[in-house]
């Protein structure tokens, strides 16, 4: 442990009994994390029962592991092979707590995803009797190809020839790899992340508090697979050693680094596609004390890689969304192009309609992404989704990035124009002004301490950050920060309910004098998925909305009144939309390939729920500009054969027949119809067009 203090190993063992470390030599370029990622079909066996797990692990050396799902508790279990003489069994099953933070139930350390958890326990024991061991074939594989072929075997791997096993009756490897084995400073080798953000206060932590003091940070610098995380330059470790890793700062950091949309929103919308391996994520360090800002910024760049599951997915989705050769790319790019037109002032109708259109598209695109056929490169996205059990939230974020970010400027302008036009902006600005004149404390019946001038300034700055973010999720986080600051100002350690909070919030809103806040609230309410609106964020968003309504209903509100008719109406509509939201998702975004002679063209069309295939065919005729629609029909692939699509078929019929999301073919139905050998959309060289 006399090495660099940054590397802190909780299980120091004599380096003496070293084996040949599988991570050395030419193999070092594949990190443990990547090995795990590439071979998860081998070790992630959610469907097997405990008997099968025992059976598999029985023949393996101690330290070998599997992850399965318990039928009784529905929890994932890490099953570790112990020494033969272990009681009560030679296999120990440890429950893994479910997302958002993965951890072994007995441990205080949690991880953002399962893979990271396993990778960690491959190098560190923590609560385990010893570290996890990858099967030798996986640990020694020297190329991605090898790993992939292992991966293809899935559970078969365990019983295959490839799985040569080490000496079975040897002493359990009660050792961990030493720091020198792990990494020799070149930024390569075994990889271990401990995310201090996920460290929790826990009795067990006190035993291992040295864990907390110095945090081991390794950033992968290799760029070996498509699954590699976006690479950021490895931070100089000494910086981290110096930085005080305290909960508070980290929380702070987290709150800023997760608001990536702030920085990104400032980039030009035409930013070239990301090239993996060269990006250098920078992170806004909001409201940090100036002197520490730069250090923390560097540090946060390192931490960005801790958010890899989300980031990876986001990047993958973003890359996909830009690639017009891919169905998903076509879909998103067409939508963006269409929106750029629609968002021009002369075409604008209502803000709700505009935002709702975006919301529906995002929901549909999400469904589309999840149903991508395997060969559409979607496979890697799918693998990631499976791997990290990616939360819906992550996909949602990724889609906001693909759709809202490029349109940020236009959307802002459009909303501005619309609210100027309908007089909303003016009304709210005037109400705020009136309220400010009429001594807001009395107006709202404020009974608590409210933020002073400085406090208000700070809050106003936060509000302008809300405006800068493109992601409604980031906006919501900022809004929560604003609410927290208001609570903080209330002081005296009491616990405040809405009786105290709402007046204080209204006071702050009026004092900050930022009428644009109402546009932001609308943006969040319309674009956030319902799941966001039922939690804490939803509550405080509702409070801001309520507060803005109240301010607008003044001065009549001095006497008890009802809400303005307008607010009531919009509430009703909003509720109604939310309820019908799910139905509208049932529309299908269907790709159709138009085959006419040598020409082929693909479009993505919306097949509305409740309409028949015939209607879709009519739509095709229009979209592809066919003169004799009666001569053309829709075809689909079923069991590899091209069959006519029954004109009376509905979406649900298709789904019950178990179709894939392969494109339909729209072509001449005459007798000379050539049954071409059609490949799937992704492989076709198509000049897709906006539909």
């Amino acid at each position: 442990m006399q090495e660099d203090p940054v590397y802190d190993y909780p299980d120091p063992h004599p380096v003496g009994e070293k084996r040949v470390c599988p991570q050395r030599g030419s193999l070092k370029s594949i990190s443990v994390l990547d090995r795990l990622l590439l071979t998860y079909p081998v070790w992630l066996q959610l469907s097997i029962n405990s008997a099968t797990a025992l059976h598999i692990l029985q023949r393996e050396p101690p330290g070998t592991f599997l992850v399965r799902k318990s039928n009784t508790s529905q929890k994932k279990m890490l099953c570790v092979r112990l020494a033969d003489e272990s009681v009560p069994s030679f296999v120990n099953g440890l429950p893994i707590t479910p997302p958002p933070a993965f951890s072994l139930e007995t441990s205080a350390i949690s991880f953002p995803d399962l893979c990271r958890l396993i990778a960690f326990y491959c190098v560190s024991r923590d609560v385990l009797p010893f570290t996890l061991e990858l099967p030798e074939a996986i640990a020694k594989a020297s190329s991605h190809k090898q790993l992939e072929s292992i991966s293809h075997m899935g559970v078969e791997f365990w019983s295959s020839q490839l799985n040569f096993r080490g000496p079975r009756n040897g002493p359990p490897p009660l050792r961990t790899r030493s720091p020198s084995e792990l990494d020799m400073g070149a930024g390569q080798g075994a990889l271990c992340f401990i995310n201090p953000l996920f460290l929790q206060d826990h009795p067990a932590m006190h035993k291992r508090h040295h864990f907390k003091r110095s945090v081991k940070v390794r950033v992968s610098t290799e760029n070996t697979s498509s699954l590699s995380p976006p690479v950021s330059p490895p931070p100089p470790p000494p910086l981290l050693a110096k930085a005080k890793v305290k909960g508070k700062n980290l929380q702070h950091l987290e709150s800023s680094s997760s608001l990536s949309s702030l920085d990104e929103a400032e980039e030009g919308p035409e930013r070239p596609p990301l090239t993996r391996g060269t990006s250098n994520p920078t992170v806004a360090s909001l409201c940090l004390p100036r002197q520490s800002a730069s250090a923390l910024r560097k540090m946060s760049a390192a931490f960005v890689s801790f958010f890899v599951p989300g980031k990876r997915v986001a990047r993958l989705v973003e890359d996909l969304s830009r690639d017009r050769r891919m169905a998903f790319g076509t879909l998103v790019q067409d939508f963006l192009r269409q929106q750029r037109e629609v968002l021009k002032p002369q075409f604008l109708t209502s803000s709700v309609e505009l935002l709702q259109g975006m919301r529906i598209f995002i929901s549909q695109a999400k469904v589309f992404l999840l149903e991508l056929p395997e060969d559409e490169k979607g496979s890697s996205t799918k693998a990631l989704i499976n791997m990290f059990m990616v939360a819906d939230q992550t996909l949602e974020k990724a889609l906001f990035r693909c759709v809202l970010k490029p349109l940020k400027r236009q959307i802002d302008e459009a909303l501005h124009v619309l609210h100027e036009r309908d007089g909303c902006s003016k009304r709210i600005a005037e109400s705020m002004q009136r309220a400010r004149k009429a001594s807001p404390c009395d107006l709202f019946g404020v009974q608590v301490t409210v933020p002073d001038t400085q406090g208000i300034d700070k809050l106003r700055r936060k509000m302008s950050l809300v405006r800068r973010a493109y992601s409604p999720i980031d906006k919501l986080h900022l809004l929560l920060q604003i609410c927290k600051l208001i609570y903080k100002a209330m002081k005296n350690n009491a616990e405040f309910g809405a009786d105290d909070f709402l007046p204080a919030l209204s006071y702050v809103i009026v004092q900050c004098n930022m009428p644009e806040l109402s546009v932001e609230v609308e943006y969040m309410m319309e674009l956030l998925d319902t799941s966001w609106l039922t939690g804490e964020g939803g509550y405080y968003l509702t409070s801001v909305y309520a507060s803005l309504s109240f301010i607008q209903s003044l001065p009549e509100a001095v006497a008890p009144t009802a809400l303005t008719q307008e607010v009531r109406e919009s509430l009703k509509n909003w509720s109604h939309r939310r309820r019908t939201d799910n139905k509208s998702h049932k529309d299908l975004l269907q790709q159709v390939v138009f085959q006419d002679g040598e020409c082929s063209l693909m479009k993505t069309l919306q097949w509305k729920a409740g309409t028949s295939a015939e209607t879709l065919a009519q739509l095709c005729a229009v979209k592809f500009g066919v003169n004799q629609p009666e001569e053309y029909s829709l075809y689909w692939r079923r069991d590899g054969e091209l069959e006519p699509l029954p004109p009376t078929a509905y979406i649900q019929d298709l789904q019950s027949l178990g179709t894939t999301s392969a494109p339909f073919i729209y072509q001449c139905s005459g007798p000379d119809m050539k049954s071409r050998k059609l490949t799937r959309g992704g492989a076709l060289d198509l000049s897709a067009e906006a539909s």
Partner: protein, 218 residues
């Protein structure tokens, strides 16, 4: 249910807390949530929005409790808060006849706006001040009965009747949700959130906003 076994579903309910200022809404809900306070919340130890996780007959229930401002001037904001609620707790002070009147107004409004699908609880708080009671037990219980609500007596101060109140409410909301599920024909594929935001989610629901963006802005 058979495949997933009991406990594979999580119910998420929204409960709105209504009642005049000073009737003790806040203390009531704080009392209920204080033992297992969810420290992941951003606004730690504030009582406007609280959550509670329960396990009722093997089913996980997540309660989100939305407090409202009870002052008369904010009365009109009610609908903004109570829409999509699965349950409402209407609190009055047994020593204050007026506050009971307010509860009656709320009941009328809720029934009108949300119909019978919202589970209503009328709660007479401050029974530690029994001597100063101004609302008779018979009147209160009779009224509750007449509007299809349940009546409870509580004391936030003495921690009386509170567990019972919430447990009972949860059970009723579960019944409503299950009835709704049956209505939808148990279609597993259409497990979309039902009306009024009853969400039936497999596995743990995410800690929504709280987990992601904890802030401790200074």
């Amino acid at each position: 249910m058979a495949a997933g076994g009991p406990g594979s579903k999580t119910y998420s309910f929204k409960v709105v807390l209504l009642g005049e200022g000073c009737v003790g809404k806040t203390s009531l809900v704080l009392r209920y949530c204080e033992n297992k306070f969810n420290d992941k919340h951003i606004t730690t130890l504030q009582a406007s929005f609280l959550t509670k996780k329960l396990n009722i007959t093997g089913k996980r229930v997540n309660l989100a409790i939305w407090d409202t401002a009870g002052q008369e001037r904010f009365h009109a904001l009610g609908p903004i808060y109570y829409r999509d609620s699965n349950g409402a707790i209407l609190v009055y002070d047994i020593t204050d006849e007026d506050s009971f009147q307010k509860v009656k107004n709320w009941v009328k409004e809720l029934r009108k706006m949300l119909g019978n699908e919202i589970s209503l609880c009328i709660v007479g708080n401050k029974i530690d001040l029994e001597k100063e009671r101004h609302v008779s037990v018979e009147e209160a219980e009779g009224y509750a009965d007449s509007v299809g609500a349940k009546h409870y007596h509580t004391s936030a101060k003495l921690n009386k009747g509170i567990e019972e109140l919430f447990l009972d409410l949860c059970k009723r909301m579960m019944e409503t949700a299950q009835a709704e599920e049956r209505l939808r024909g148990n279609g597993a594929s259409t497990a979309a959130p039902g009306r009024r935001g009853v969400q039936i989610i497999d596995d743990e629901p995410r800690a929504a906003t709280a987990a992601g963006g904890c802030c401790s802005s200074g």
